[in-house]
């Protein structure tokens, strides 16, 4: 059951081979055993999860089940869930029990899925290693001295260690795809606007997008069917007819034009990762895909532009944490201003404070044009590169991250080195394009490598098709970390 696909779990539940309560307990027990070592979950509430599981069992008995009914799903602790403590990895929200559900949580609840717990993450999703969490770093299940990637590292570690069959994540500059790559699982960031941001604690609103994390592309498609959908409460939610993201899974790849950006195979790419990516490209060609070479000439500017735009939006979004309406409030203060200063100094960790300062600076009087406006113009150039590229190809593939998982602490003191981890993932966020990462082999020290797939706007079904056909021909996605007790 631990290794079963969501379809297999759904069938087992329908055929009464296992109940949702038993299945939920199986994963809760495993989480209880492994979490002390991996720290993938911040909050687990056995009673709440089992109550949902029993309700799902009743629904199944009545013949009212949907594809995810009774299946436990872990939520990144950035999605608020009614009655659940929701911390966003921060001391600022350590006492915050949400009075409402995020749209994503509502949709999973309506589908009959069970909330398995809230997963650990970089504080306010600002990080690429899941080390900046107030609740301690997440460990990579493949090697516990390594980071799992971030910021959705709790979700990817949970799926990799088989503590959860599936999980949710969010991606502002690579926070679903980079940890999926470093943890050896599959993750998808949909087209901007496809998944509602309502109840997803805001980091950089023009970039933030929720998405699924699972063991396979087939599972991702099933999860996206539940997560995606119009929501009037998110002013950037896209109004589109519902799609079945599984519809193209079985389509052959013959004739699919797969493009490789020349810029993504430059100096910064580790040789072991490059080798695994080349092998994956050869496999795609064997499946009938046609390889074309493209150029994304401005992609090298994506990290600088991102580190203006994302902190600028974050400095505005995080101004709401003032100790008045919710969250941490300093114990001692002289006056109102002092209360704000102390509350925010105590409640935010070093990386969050740093990014708020960057954002405040680039938006401040006299610097707006030089930084913020300039970054928005670069953003346009990067998006235009993709518009030109998609005239020659159907999907763009390459490495998700420049290296395999690095050691915990290795980049913690050097923000710039940490930021450069997201060099291949950030362009899709800036352009608003859908992108995903799937396991495609192993590099140095037997650590997983991820293949990055970027599609045109709303082409998720086609990307999932490519990923599924690749996973039918390979077994990288079925490998699981050794050394973890069963």
């Amino acid at each position: 059951m631990l290794n079963a696909s969501l379809n297999e779990l759904s069938a087992a539940l329908a055929q009464k081979k296992i109940s949702s309560a038993e299945l939920t307990k199986l994963f809760l027990d495993r989480t209880a055993r492994l979490n002390a070592a991996l720290n993938a979950f911040i909050t687990v509430e056995t009673g709440k999860s089992l109550a949902q599981a029993h309700a799902a069992d009743e629904r199944i008995a009545k013949g009212d089940a949907k594809p995810l009914t009774g299946i436990p799903v872990a939520h990144k602790d950035i999605f608020v869930a009614k009655g659940w403590r929701t911390t966003c990895g921060s001391k600022m929200l350590s006492n915050f029990v949400s009075p409402y559900d995020a749209h994503v949580v509502e949709r999973f609840n309506a589908a009959g899925a069970v909330i398995l717990g809230k997963t650990n993450m970089d504080e306010f999703a600002m990080g690429s290693s899941s080390e900046t969490s107030f609740y301690g770093p997440v460990k990579n299940p493949w090697n516990q001295e390594r980071v799992p990637g971030g910021s959705s590292g709790g979700s990817t570690a949970a799926v990799a260690a088989r503590m959860a069959p599936a999980a949710t994540g969010t991606d502002t500059g690579g926070s679903i795809r980079q940890p999926a790559s470093l943890s050896g699982v599959s993750g998808l960031k949909p087209t901007y606007g496809l998944v509602s941001r309502y109840g997803m604690i805001a980091f950089a609103s023009s970039l933030d997008q929720g998405g699924p994390i699972a063991k396979s592309a087939e599972d991702l498609a099933l999860l996206l069917n539940v997560m995606a959908g119009f929501d009037a409460r998110d002013s950037t939610s896209v109004e589109r007819a519902a799609e079945d993201y599984r519809r193209e899974l079985d389509r052959p790849l013959a004739g699919l034009r797969v493009a490789v950006p020349r810029e993504h195979f430059g100096g910064g790419l580790a040789a072991d990762v490059g080798k695994a990516i080349e092998a994956a490209l050869a496999q795609l060609e064997k499946l009938g895909a046609k390889r074309v070479s493209i150029s994304l000439p401005n992609s090298g500017l994506s990290v600088p532009a991102y580190y203006v735009i994302a902190p600028a939006e974050a400095s505005s979004n995080l101004s709401r944490f003032d100790g008045v309406r919710y969250g941490h409030r300093a114990k001692e203060y002289r006056d109102l201003a002092d209360m704000y200063f102390r509350t925010r100094a105590e409640g935010f960790g070093a990386e969050v404070r740093r990014r708020i300062l960057i954002g405040t600076y680039v938006l401040s009087h006299g610097y707006y044009d030089a930084y913020y406006l300039k970054a928005q113009k670069i953003r346009r150039l990067i998006a235009d590169d993709f518009v030109a590229a998609f005239k020659q190809c159907d999907v763009i593939v390459g490495p998700t991250a420049p290296t395999v998982a690095f050691e915990i602490g290795a980049k913690a003191a050097d923000p710039v080195q940490m930021y450069l981890n997201d060099i291949y993932t950030i362009p899709a966020n800036l352009a608003g394009l859908p992108a995903m990462s799937i396991p495609c082999g192993f590099g140095k020290d037997d650590l997983p490598v991820g293949l990055h797939i970027v599609g045109n706007y709303f082409s998720e079904a086609r990307m999932l098709n490519l990923a599924h056909q690749y996973q039918k021909a390979t077994d990288w996605h079925q490998r699981e970390p050794g050394g973890i007790q069963r």
Binding site: L336, I356, I358, Y361, A375, I378, R380
Partner: protein
Amino acid sequence: MPLSLQEVQRVAELARIGVSDAEAQTVLAQLNDIFELIARMQKVDTEGVEPMSHGQELKLRLREDIVTERDQRERFESVASNVEQGLYLVPKVIE
């Protein structure tokens, strides 16, 4: 252009985040590294390029001007640190 310690203190003031002198020194060095990375943008000619503020070119939706929220004051105030008679309490602002 490297930042000065005074600028870090001024930005922290604007952001309402208390920063000690020692901390400001550490942050200064890190921010200057980050701004060196950001400075790569300045070499690019962006004359006439339309700024892109969002991942999707969306028009804001309009809706009927009617009440859609119900009163949930108690629920939302239940997570505040200091509330009295339905009001959020903060330190005295006007003497």
